[in-house]
């Protein structure tokens, strides 16, 4: 399909990079001009982060950081009020044996569960206290994204009106892989618009690239730039429903784009790897990757999140070990 000649929806970012009246063709030319990624080298760099040894104080600080960055997630067809309330309480107090443990960053659910989460969080919602828990909702026909635009916009608006603080949307991977980059871009812009509330504020938008389906790191790089130009507040690796989900090389590739964007404009975009990160050991490697790629300023829940479910319990157990001096076990953490 040949690129459309009509203008893309302009954002302030695309305007600064592509100029006004930018077309799909200009976007494609820009994205194609970005330097490629050598996958062997990228994987070697990621493996290098995995050789960092975080001990004692570094490890303790890292574990607390990870806990405070978790988007505690349940995205199952079988989700019920009961399940969601249990999760929300866990989000507030991850370790009942340690009141000093930080709350997680957010609870992540389908749009129709947002109200339940809000009810369960009560005064622990982020609107009530700065160290509280936010509500993130997936939208846009998550996880496949295969639905009409009106449906995806409605999906988003509903979640926002129910009280979601953050929206995790999926890009149209079919459109991306077949080269309709302008369409992918326009969809993100529309969903960003749908995040606007009655009072004029916006829910925070995370754009899921579904890197496992994009397959190459060149695609991951280009999709990252595209999502940022279209207005993403965060770029996110995966839905967690497709394998491979988050990997260190993919995450580093995305962080490099965030670094370059910051160098170019001064603006800070957030990043969220999701799916497949189950062990604290792995999560610590991601922190190292962030600190050594884009800088320590990104080590805050405002700019970095882990999309995870079982990771939290592993972090709790690791913290217990550091506190007690012996290895913990699954009976000492709550099942959600």
């Amino acid at each position: 399909m040949s690129p459309r000649a009509s203008a893309l929806a302009t954002t302030h970012r695309s305007h600064s990079v592509l100029g006004s009246g930018a077309t799909e063709k200009a976007l494609i030319t820009f994205l194609r001009g970005i330097p490629g990624v050598d996958t062997v080298g990228a994987e070697a760099r990621a493996a290098g982060f995995a050789t960092r040894s975080l001990k004692t104080t570094s490890k303790a600080a890292g574990l607390d950081m990870i806990m405070s960055m978790v988007d505690l997630t349940t995205l199952e067809g079988a989700d019920t009020r009961g399940k969601v309330h249990t999760l929300a309480k866990k989000a507030i107090v991850p370790d009942s044996t340690d009141p000093g443990a930080p709350s997680v960053a957010a609870v992540c659910v389908y749009g129709d569960m947002v109200a339940e989460v809000r009810e369960s969080l009560g005064s622990w919602h982020i609107s009530q206290r700065p160290d509280g828990v936010a509500i993130a909702a997936v939208a846009t026909a998550f996880p496949s994204g295969r639905a009409s635009m009106p449906v995806k916009i409605l999906d988003t608006q509903f979640a926002v009106s129910e009280g979601a603080d953050e929206i995790d949307m999926v890009i149209d991977r079919g459109a991306f892989l077949s080269g309709s980059w302008g369409m992918v871009y326009d969809q993100i812009v529309s969903i960003k618009e749908a995040c606007q509330r009655a009072d004029g504020s916006y829910a925070h938008l995370k754009v899921i690239l579904e890197t496992g389906e994009l397959a190459t790191l060149d695609n991951v790089r280009r999709a990252s730039w595209l999502a940022i130009l279209a207005g993403a507040d965060f770029i996110k690796t995966s839905t967690g429903k497709v394998s491979p989900a988050a990997t260190l090389p993919v995450t580093v590739t995305m962080l490099e784009v965030i670094r370059d964007w910051h160098g170019m404009t001064g603006e800070k975009i957030g990043m969220k790897p999701a799916g497949g990160i189950r062990a604290s050991k792995d999560a610590l490697r991601y922190l190292v990757a962030v600190a050594e790629t884009v800088g320590e300023q990104w080590l805050t829940p405002d700019l970095f999140r882990f999309g995870a479910s079982s990771l939290l319990n592993d972090v709790v157990m690791q913290r217990q070990k550091m506190r007690t001096g012996h290895y913990s076990g699954p009976d000492y953490v709550s099942v959600d």
Partner: protein, 486 residues
Amino acid sequence: MTFLDYAPAPESTSILNLKPSYGLFIGGEFVDGGGSSFASISPSTEKTITTVAEATEADVDRAVKAARVAYDTTWSKMSGSERGKYLFRIARIVQERTRELAVAESMDNGKPIRETRDVDIPLVAAWFFYYAGWADKLEYAGLGPNPQSLGVAAQIVPWNFPLLMLAWKIAPALAAGNTVVLKPAETTPLTALLFAEICQQAQLPAGVVNIITGAGATGAAMVAHPDINKLAFTGSTPVGRQIASTLAGTNTKVTLELGGKGANIIFDDAAIDQAIEGIISGIFFNQGHVCCAGSRLLVQENIHDDVVNRLQNRLATLRLGDPLDKNTDIGAVNSKAQLQRITELVNVGEGEGATRWSSPCAIPEKGFWFAPTVFTDVHTSHRIAREEIFGPVLSVLTFRTPEEAIAKANNSPYGLSAGIWTEKASRMLAVADKLRAGVIWANTFNKFDPASPFGGYQESGYGREGGRHGLAAYLNSSDWKAGSRS
């Protein structure tokens, strides 16, 4: 404390079982030398690790005699399959003792434990595994149906990759049926002595491997010994010249692996983040003590500023410090003497008008250290563009066209290595065709494998180590006759 101030993560030295002093390993046993002894110190703490013997001329003679007897009575009569099995045993024992060897190497050389653990020692094991398999397949080596071993090989290895250079020398020599007398560098004898213990554990027949410690005088005595059939040397070009000169006119086969001033060429279409990693690996890996280091960065002029900028940002995350800390990226310079040489040449560079930038990392009080340094505004006539510094110092030059890059890269009496960074394969292959360098890395750097031949053109030496080609140094082809031209 910020997150990036990683807490100390020291590798334990409890695995080591070092003696306070070591003798010479001759004829399968540790024996006293006839000369004095000297200390081997840790370049990061300046503390003594152990003392070793300085082999005299008489000691060298003893070692060569032991090697000769072992060759005549045992090793040359043994089947290739049996020789191979000894090498397989050695490989396995190196694998079993990997951590111990990595710690010892890091302490004695000053390089980070992460490098010895993840690169040096695994390659040592791999080198022995690889050549073990050749021992009974020499008829396939491309040297005729019945190639012949040479006899006794005298081998001198440097301080930058002590045990790995030992493996590069001993593995092919033994596989081909030769016996050896090897001298490690005077500042890094430790792992060679541990290797002698490994030979004992493998029950290698006495005299097949002899390890004699010492400095320049010991090396000279080895080179001058009348009963060696082969001399293999890795080290500086000036010493290489002396050796070549000394052995001119003799029947002794010589291979030399000497210095270099490798050019790392970055084209404007390179995968830029990986190219930056390649530059870093090229010159700061092993503190720049690498003969094949990418010590000249030839960057396409239109991306010069972006590359230098990214390089400096990336250098800021490199950690310099205790080699035994698992998070250390840059270890100690191997010796005071080497540190002086580096400092001198860096001062020359500043004097020549190049612009110096050094990483603002903290330097420990004791030990020998040099912060990673980048020189920009370097021109082809500068000494720092032509002379080997052998330290963590990068000289940045520019080029406009592929032809100019090639001309500048080749404009050196050295010819050991080069790097090419471009996403365009046709260009990479054409440039590789024209570069006069024995090892060319494309979109990567400093990759070594026992199956891959390594060695230089012109003043970087002659002969290849690694691969099928690496056997040629230790065999005479079936057609060879004594006194013939080859």
